[in-house]
Symmetry: C2
Subunit: 80 residues, 2 copies
């Protein structure tokens, strides 16, 4: 089973990387851009085959290591 974790900064948390990307895109001539935010994408291969157990394990990984729950939110997608 494959898990894909999307980690983004919470709304309101300052995102200098996103701002830098926005400025670079504007400098390249892309207009009509609002806010740009950068997050992380983590793809994990799991031996676990039960979706509920897998989701629970990945959730523990997020809380324990992958995400910082103080400033980040995460979303888990599972693929069989």
């Amino acid at each position: 089973m494959k898990a894909r974790v999307h980690i983004s900064l919470k709304t309101g948390v300052h995102d200098p990387q996103g701002k830098a990307i926005r400025n670079a895109l504007s400098g390249l001539g892309f207009a009509g851009l609002g806010e740009v935010r950068q997050g992380k994408l983590i793809e994990l291969e799991l031996d676990e085959t039960d979706p509920d157990t897998a989701r629970e394990a990945v959730d523990r990984m997020c809380r324990g290591l992958l995400a910082n729950p103080v400033i980040e939110t995460y979303h888990i997608d599972l693929e069989a």
Copy 2:
């Protein structure tokens, strides 16, 4: 319109960050882990309202700045 760009390293490209995450998770006691790969998630707010034009613009942003097409693949999701 909101665009979400998922950028991952191509298969076969060495991913030391993913390896470090895998080792850290193993160290924390998570078993049954296969490969772990880290990518980027970029969220953009666009003034554009036409999905085709928006997708085309974000595709140009990816090829011009956001992704390195030599070693990375990207996937664009649009949200109205």
